[in-house]
Symmetry: C2
Subunit: 386 residues, 2 copies
């Protein structure tokens, strides 16, 4: 149990026939209350998929009874017809659950530019409603129903000492990037929370977790993170407690997304510290994380700090070349404008790589979670239309 770990939630994941393979492709999460408070963050791409346009609209009132998700098609760049398909899906879920469509969020993931097979989607709603359950199996199936090139489901759960908890699942294997990855995630909590507190906590949590995952710089048309609160635990945490637990579960999911991202053979943390502002720290870390020459060197287990220096030097941030130091897996290779140790002293043969860049001009820091660039990434993304 993860998305159904917190009290007051049921979920289902089924094969609705959207994917030709017959794999699970349809997920439903229902909040049985007593509260129906919700919050969401969405892709900043100006090209937004129909389900994002819909869910952004319904989230304005911050109340959700259910979230319906499908893999096998992104329903993006599909025009007014695609939007009608999303609307019809929400209406169908609302009808079966005896609620209003305004309380139903919709998420889709898959190929851009293709309409969904609506017969399969609508009959999938009926099948999914019958399968709704709070069991571990239902929870796992819900996580499976949103997988595309993911090789495994991603679930997380954490419980506070005072008895309330946060759970959730996520999907996303490529197009993982600035400001939310290709990513769908549904989080649940049985805490008693106000709309305002839940919204603040979600934004704080995603700012340092989902927003910091950057596999390939792509920002999907469909990125969505939703959190639903049932209040079923009867416990009202402080803002800090809520943010802390949401952040912990989100980071857990982000690290699972990174580990399973397309072609990844390295888990790379790029930390920039000593920056004048958090904005500078994020920009420098992101540029290093997205640089293909850095990423291919990491694939080759090569501590090529020269490429890191090249990458950071092209960021419009406050950087003094004489002050910068570059440390890889604990070995400082560059400092005071010149080499500080032989590159061979840094061992990059393991899967985990820690790059720490100290700009030494301020007190701000940020970490971006990324991967290497491997043959597997090229293979998967040149052979697979997604």
């Amino acid at each position: 149990m993860t998305v159904t770990g917190p009290q007051g939630f049921r979920a289902a994941g089924i094969a609705a026939g959207i994917k030709a393979s017959g794999a699970l492709d349809f997920t439903l999460v229902v909040n049985d209350g007593p509260l129906d408070v919700a919050a969401g963050v969405f892709t900043r791409n100006v090209i937004k998929a129909a389900p994002v346009l819909w869910s952004q609209e319904v989230l304005k009132q911050q109340r959700l009874k259910a979230v319906v998700l499908n893999s096998g098609g992104a329903n993006a760049a599909t025009g007014p017809g695609g939007f009608q398909d999303t609307h019809a899906t929400a209406e169908k879920v609302a009808e079966v659950l005896h609620t209003g469509a305004i309380e139903v969020a919709v998420c889709s993931t898959g190929l851009i530019g293709e309409r969904l097979p609506m017969d399969a989607v609508l009959s999938g709603v009926d099948t999914a409603v019958k399968a709704l359950d709070a069991s571990d199996e239902a929870s796992l199936n819900a996580a499976r129903g949103v997988m595309t090139t993911d090789t495994k489901p991603k679930q997380a759960f954490a419980k506070a000492e005072s008895g309330w908890s946060v759970g959730g699942f996520a999907k996303g294997a490529g197009m993982l990037a600035p400001n939310l990855a290709t990513m769908l995630s549904v989080l649940t909590t049985d805490a008693v929370v106000s709309k305002e507190a839940l919204d603040r906590a979600l934004r704080s949590a995603t700012h340092v977790t989902f927003d910091r995952l950057d596999v390939d710089g792509g920002t999907s048309t469909n990125d969505t993170v939703l959190v639903l609160a049932s209040g079923a635990s009867g416990v009202e945490p402080t803002d800090a407690e809520l943010t802390e637990l949401l952040t912990r579960v989100s980071l857990d999911l982000v690290l699972q997304l990174r580990a399973d991202s397309e072609g990844a053979t390295k888990d790379v943390n790029v930390t920039v510290q000593g920056a004048e502002s958090e904005t500078d720290a994020i920009a420098v870390a992101r540029t290093i994380a997205e640089d293909n020459l850095v990423k291919t060197a990491l694939f080759g287990s090569d501590p090529n700090w020269g490429r890191i220096a090249m990458a950071l030097g092209r960021v419009p941030a406050r950087i003094d070349p004489e002050q910068v130091s570059i440390t890889i897996n604990g070995v400082t290779l560059f400092a005071q404008g010149m080499p500080a140790a032989d590159r061979t002293e840094a061992d990059l043969t393991g899967r985990a790589i820690e790059i720490v860049v100290d700009l030494n001009v301020g007190g701000e820091a940020a970490t971006i979670y990324t991967t290497d660039l491997s043959h597997g990434y090229v293979e998967e993304n040149s052979a697979y239309s997604s």
Copy 2:
């Protein structure tokens, strides 16, 4: 003859012993006048190699007698010692040519963070000076002396009807990116020109050529484009004529650089038109050109316009999703917010790919010259320290 195509120039390319392989690694270009006017543009990376710091300084007076270049080492991130090496190289060239070091530019390319073998460099100057010649062979050797992962030398030449000409060579196979590629290029002309006219013409030419080549988003620490004018033709072209011929030769070199860039299997032009500003057009074209999901799809000959839509949607430019059209190799696949034709109608099996994005919100346009992202790129950059 190319760099020695214009009258008044001699060149040499030799093996100085900087590269362990014994390949050519040292190039000298000399301007025999009567003029010694010059102009240069340099990397915008804040981490600048020692030869860039030196050459930027000497170019302030816009007079050059010679340019000395080496491959086998970038002399970047090498501290004060590295700068002294560059200075010593310029002094040595000046001494042998009976001029001042202030008239000698220096360029280096190769691995970042390693000092150059100065015995080899300084004795290379003596050998190169003896080999100076205006022949085709000397010109070709000069182009070869700067090669790193380039598989072939890049030379270009164009002559105006009124009898003056522009020639040159370039190198650069990876780290080819925003605002000059990893790139060294020396251009020559026998036109009679003022410092001001030459500087303006070089900036105009590079703005639409070298600045528009973007293979992998990397901006090298060493990027340099120099132009030397001898005045030996006795002909003084207009500003427009000078800019036109410099642009033509620069574009010729840029397309050669693209064709020979690491792992490239496709020559891709990304043109954005109908933009509100040239800045918007460049930003959108560059983001599409740098997107790994777009680049891997092109490697797979897949007209995956959904990835192009995703990429352009994350640019902070004026974009109305309903107005955008995407055309690949002559087939419009996306328009008015939805698919306009079946993707299979666009044939991407050839090497040349033309992507045209019309934003339909203005009258500005720009083209970025890029490539696909292939297994060859990953292989070359994970196995080779550069």
